[in-house]
Structure formats: structure tokens, C-alpha cells
Symmetry: C2
Subunit: 226 residues, 2 copies
Amino acid sequence: IVQARNLEMTYRNGDVETYALRGVDIEIQKGEMVAVMGPSGCGKTTLLNCLSGIDQATGGEINIEGTNLVDMNDNQKTKYRAENMGFIFQTFNLLPVLTSIENVELPLLVSGTDTKTARNKAQAALEAVGLGEYGHHKPAQLSGGQRQRVTVARSLVNEPYIVWADEPTGALDSETANEVMSLMTNLNKNQGLTILLVTHNREVAELSNRIINMKDGVISSEEIIN
Amino acid sequence: IVQARNLEMTYRNGDVETYALRGVDIEIQKGEMVAVMGPSGCGKTTLLNCLSGIDQATGGEINIEGTNLVDMNDNQKTKYRAENMGFIFQTFNLLPVLTSIENVELPLLVSGTDTKTARNKAQAALEAVGLGEYGHHKPAQLSGGQRQRVTVARSLVNEPYIVWADEPTGALDSETANEVMSLMTNLNKNQGLTILLVTHNREVAELSNRIINMKDGVISSEEIIN
Ligand SMILES: Nc1ncnc2c1ncn2[C@@H]1O[C@H](COP(=O)(O)OP(=O)(O)OP(=O)(O)O)[C@@H](O)[C@H]1O
Ligand SMILES: Nc1ncnc2c1ncn2[C@@H]1O[C@H](COP(=O)(O)OP(=O)(O)OP(=O)(O)O)[C@@H](O)[C@H]1O
Ligand SMILES: [Mg+2]
Ligand SMILES: [Mg+2]
């Protein structure tokens, strides 16, 4: 479902070049849950952003089955992503001026769902991450882990076929992290949701089918788990 | 060195009240390293912010030895904190318009250090967290874990007597987390740096002298480690 060959990402700042990705090949099957681990700065977020189309790789090619993201204009891309993909960013990216329920229903409204259904689905998604009572809090009125969970809820609310998750449990205590991960693994097992997840947490990574280890912009090893 | 009795924090949003702290007593000795753990939303960040003076508790009293933060105006408070305290916020709080070395040297400049010494000390602090080559990257040009490490460097650069650390290793892989924690424990053991650290990571918490467990706005238990 996701295929990339020889991915490269070079950042240029003045005359300084940073080689964030140095030739990465990756293939993710439909319905797979793949974890990506590696030291701070090795290129995990860069890889996720290139594969999901958030950033443009400076070299190599990416193929996401059934999509011509390349041929779409910005509005079409935004609508396509809202309908088909879920995003959990490493720095959660909630809109500070909206309440958490408004943040969660956003992908539904963008993809054309009526307001009543959107509101109900958003409430259910918040309840699924233990935040049913916090719908009217704005991000500034939430704890770090609560904001992270709102981002998780938002990524799943539109029943996407793939979720790109950059450290979805980094701000959570182990019990809450387990709740969030069982939510995601259930969707993976029961609904075939494809998940690419970056994590520093070995226990979370071992819930996946396969762990990809990165180091200095390349894949250093792969482990089959399930 | 830090003493608080019956701390309360109630947030009012319209007619909704959230009881974030419901009567917390805490005492931290000079030179102690104390960890605070507990589920997402239980009040750890709120406690840290009240004790360090970032926020004003709605009830109870706080005494920080040798300081009359209460009698200072805003400018004096800012200078006092820059000279005496280090802060690692849960959402790192680097200034996006400054490079990482400019971010790190800020507390030194605020407390009156000359620019040459400030620059040298900031560079040394960045090297201590493995980011000696990243001084001229701005926060947007850093990975999540790199930004967190820049915040750690900034909190220690002014040789404070106390560091308030809200999840200092949440965005780090285990190896990098160990490097950051040995930096902090060395300062604690060799220079008597007092540390109050909030963490979800049990291994990190067990490096401290004492673990305080919180639940629903109160302290539920304490464990003596060392
Ligand atoms: N401005 C606010 N208005 C209303 N409620 C708030 C506000 N700020 C925080 N809260 C609530 O206070 C409670 C405690 O928040 P706090 O940030 O201290 O939790 P925490 O223990 O640090 O959690 P985490 O581990 O997720 O970071 C949470 O339920 C949160 O929703
Ligand atoms: N805009 C940029 N300009 C220059 N270098 C950048 C830029 N963005 C990222 N980098 C660098 O690219 C490298 C990879 O960054 P990336 O965010 O992918 O790391 P990561 O593996 O996600 O790390 P972490 O675990 O800390 O989140 C880092 O060394 C970072 O400093
Ligand atoms: Mg990252
Ligand atoms: Mg917190």
C-alpha cells in the first residue's frame, strides 16, 4: 500500500547541509502495523512526513496505492487527507482557538460530513480516549497527555485507511498509553487499519507486526514481531 | 528548601470548575532529587507550576527558602528566576525566532552575563547534551528530541540551585535519555543541584531519592528510593 525507494531528504540552511534521509527503501502492506525506532535525530519524523506527503523528499520515489496526491492541488490534497488518512504529529498540532471537540470534528467537517453527525462522532472518539468530559476545554486548558489523546482521537475519527503516528504515547503514563494502544491495535486487527508508528517505547513497538530500526538517515535493521 | 501546605488549584471556565490540586503538602530538601509520577491529568504540571511560581495557586501556602518572590515585581521575578532556577517545560517553549545557541544563552544574558562568556557557556551546555553542532539550527530545524535537549541545556546553563523539570526525557530514545539523566544526576550529586522532576518513566524516577505518586489532584503515596 505504501512503497518508497531510495528516499533522500537534504536540508540546506545557508551553506550548511543536513542529510536527514540518505537512501531509505520501505514497503508497508495493507493492514500492517509497522513501528519505526531509532535515536533522537536519526530521521524518523522526516521519513513519516515524506511518506504521508506532508513534506517533499529531495530524492527517490514514493507510491501510495490508489492515490495521485502528486496530481492534486492543495485543496484536493487537504480533502483527500482528511477523508483517508489520520495524523498524529510529534508536536500535537491542535488549533488553540478551538475546543477539543471542535478540533476532533475538523477532519469530518472538511470531508463533508453534516455537523450533527460530526459532533456525535467526535464525542465518541473523545470517549474512546477517556476524555468524554473534556470536549469544551481548549488545548491550553488540558494537560500534555490530554492534548496528545485529543490528537489521537482526531486521527481516528474519520475512520481513515492509514494512520501516520509520530510518538502517539510519548506524553502518557503507562496505563493511559496501554489504553490508547489497545484502541489502535483493535482498529488494526478488526478493521484492517494500516498504521505506521514512530515510537521510543519498546513495549509499544512490540505490539506491531514489524519494527524498523533507523540510524543516521538510513534503515539499520528490521525485526519481525508477529 | 521548598515547602508547600494545603495547595489547591481550581480552574473556572464559565460555570465549570476543574479541581486540579485538592490539598497537596510537599517538602523538598536542599540537594534532593524528587520525582513526581501519576496518570495523565492528575495535576503534576499544575503542582510544578505552582511551586516554581509560574502559576498562582488558588489556595494554600508556598515557601521557597530565601526568596520573597511574592514581594517582587515582574521584572525582578524574571531576573531572579533566570539567575537561580532552571525550567524544563512539558511543551518545550523555545523561542522559534532564535537559534538554539541563542535560546540557551538567554538566561545568562537576562541575569547580566557578558555576551562572550554567555556564548561560551551556551556552547558548552549544548555539547553536554550532544548538540554541539546544532547551535545555529532554529527550533523548526530540529527533531523533537533535539528541541527537548536544547531546553535541558538552557535550564542548566546558569548553574541554578533548583531545576523544575516537566518530563525532561519524554521525547528521547533510551540511550539519549540516559545521557540527559546522567548529566542531571551528576549535577545533583556533585554540585548539590536540587531537582524536582515530573516523569512517566519509571527508570528515570528510580534515579531520584524519593518518588511522589499523585492521583486526582492529591498525593496518593511516597516511596523512598535512596
Ligand atoms: N486552564 C485550565 N482550565 C481548566 N482545566 C485545566 C486547565 N489547565 C489544566 N487543567 C486541568 O487540570 C488537570 C491537571 O492538569 P495537569 O497539566 O497538571 O496534569 P498532568 O498531571 O501534568 O498530566 P500529563 O501527565 O498529561 O501532563 C487536568 O485534568 C487538566 O485538564
Ligand atoms: N528544517 C531543517 N533544517 C535542517 N535540519 C533539519 C531540519 N529539520 C530537521 N532537521 C534535522 O534532520 C535530522 C532528522 O530529524 P527528525 O525530526 O526526522 O529526527 P527524529 O528521528 O524524528 O528525532 P526525534 O526522535 O528526536 O524526534 C535531525 O538531525 C534534525 O536536526
Ligand atoms: Mg521525531
Ligand atoms: Mg503534565
